[in-house]
């Protein structure tokens, strides 16, 4: 009896792992899409409203889902405190603190930090160019992630279940 329960647990555990891996891929896609939305908002705020960054972040925070909403809000608050940090440092800190629970990979977070270092200087045209460049990279990453997800998420889920069954057979 205990053996059967144990084997069932192995099968369930492995299936859950497969499902989780597939879900993580989908979550990353959703989050990359949120980042693209953030860029659209910044483009509008900077290009049309000529808003300062803290103001643009606050407006963005109201229109975005968590954890990006909190990320933007915390950055705006930090910027208004004038603690002696550069914008790049503020951006890096809040990417690390507020986006650590996301499904975004290291490469995504590094690219976002790098984008933050480009903000704040020069003229509006250069700001929009920086946003445009990052948007291009992000779109490319988004398309690739979707393609990977389409190919692999089912595979991960099946592998989880099959792996579980395989282990159950071995232990039986």
């Amino acid at each position: 009896m205990f053996k059967i329960v144990g084997l069932l647990l192995v099968v369930c555990g492995c299936t859950a792992m497969g499902l989780s891996a597939g879900n993580e891929m989908e979550r990353r896609i959703r989050e990359l899409r949120e980042l693209l939305k953030l860029l659209e908002i910044l483009e509008g705020e900077i290009g049309y409203a000529n808003a300062a960054l803290a103001e643009a972040f606050r407006h963005g925070a109201r229109r975005m889902a968590e954890p990006f909403s909190g990320f933007l809000e915390h950055m705006a608050e930090h910027m208004d405190e004038f603690r002696g940090d550069t914008l790049g440092e503020i951006f890096m800190r809040h990417v690390q603190e507020d986006l650590k629970g996301t499904a975004l990979c290291r490469k995504d977070l590094d690219a976002l930090t790098g984008f933050g270092e480009q903000l704040g200087y020069l003229d509006v045209k250069m700001q929009l160019a920086a946003i445009g460049l990052y948007k291009e990279q992000l779109t490319h990453e988004y398309v690739r992630a979707r393609e990977e997800c389409r190919k692999n998420s089912k595979l991960y889920r099946c592998l989880g279940l099959m792996g579980g069954l395989f282990l159950a057979l071995i232990f039986f």
């Binding site: 808003a51 910027m79 903000l119």
Partner: protein, 315 residues
């Protein structure tokens, strides 16, 4: 100075620490000047002081704290709230307005295009001019500006730095709120350089009265027309008129039935008469009241008040 003073926040952390130790009433403070590699200078009540690292005031420049290039850069980051691009137009004009209505003048290397300044880079000197509201400073002239229940077309004539903007601001406030000289009027203010309202993110930081509509950072001529079309003001106030299009806009506003309050640089009515466009307004007796200021014996002293015929009403 106290940390709570809003303008202290805009300085680099190091300078902020020094200024917070300076024992001076911020009400008397006029200017704080930062120049790369030069002493930190503070002006208060018409006197200039150097500031030491410990925050004491001295007349010996050798003892003064010297401002570094990095501190200027850090200060600029805070002044522009990390968004230099958002202040392109202001930088072109050489100043930004911060919360509290204080004006931050900046100079460095001008980037020119077609003979006009496009931007400013390598900013090396910053001058923070502390805005002070002087409530009641227009009390003496209000009977002439708004006596007998009506507001008169008024021109304030003054050399630079004699308090014409401060006087105009108080006149706007009193006319807008209403009082013993006239009932409250709807006042439209075109504040091209954010000096009257000291608006920060569109909100006036200075009290311009309860019936005032402020159009911030808008060219005067265009702004006056916009206000007439959109806000139906009874009184329009503008600072430092002079250009051809400003004078035409004043004429249009007068013809639309608005009362005009304006300021102009000059030493007296004679200076104004010599200018081609403005002189015509004087000749046509458009302005019903002239207030002439000077700075003998203190800033913002009224030399005299004249009527449309140049007759002295007040000395």
């Amino acid at each position: 100075m106290k940390e709570k003073d809003e303008f202290i926040k805009i300085f680099s952390t190091n300078i902020r620490n020094i200024l917070s130790k300076v024992n001076i009433d911020s009400g008397r403070l006029q200017e704080i000047r930062l120049r790369a590699g030069k002493p930190l200078v503070l002006s208060a009540a018409g006197k200039e002081y150097f500031v030491t690292l410990s925050g004491s005031l001295t007349s010996d420049s050798e003892k003064s704290f010297r401002v570094s290039k990095r501190e200027i850069e850090e200060t600029m980051e805070y002044v522009a709230n990390y968004s230099m691009y958002a202040y392109e137009e202001e930088l072109r004009q050489g100043f930004l307005t911060i919360g509290g209505g204080h004006r931050v003048g900046v100079v460095g290397k001008a980037v020119s295009e077609d003979g006009h300044i496009r931007s400013m880079k390598y900013i090396s000197c910053i001058n923070v001019r502390i805005a002070h509201e002087v409530r009641g400073c227009a009390d003496a002239v209000m009977p002439y500006v708004a006596g007998r229940g009506d507001v008169r077309h008024t021109l304030i004539i003054s050399p630079p730095g004699c308090g014409k903007t401060t006087l105009l601001r108080d006149m706007i406030r009193q006319i807008s709120n209403g009082g013993k000289h006239c009932r409250g009027r709807t006042v439209g203010v075109v504040d091209e350089r954010s000096e009257l309202g000291g608006a920060y993110r569109g909100i006036p930081q200075n009290d311009l009265g309860m019936r005032t509509d402020l159009l911030d950072c808008c060219p005067k001529a265009e702004g006056m027309m916009l206000l007439i079309r959109s806000m139906a003001p009874q009184v329009i106030a503008v600072d430092e008129i002079g250009g051809e299009e400003d004078i035409r806009a004043v004429e249009t506003a007068v013809n639309c039935g608005c009362r005009i309050l304006a300021t102009v640089h000059g030493n007296g009515i004679e200076d104004i008469q010599r200018r081609p466009m403005l002189g015509r307004l004087v000749e046509e007796k458009i302005f019903e009241c002239y207030i002439v200021l000077h700075n003998l014996g203190g800033v913002g002293k009224i030399r005299n008040v004249l009527d449309r015929d140049g007759q002295v009403l007040y000395v």
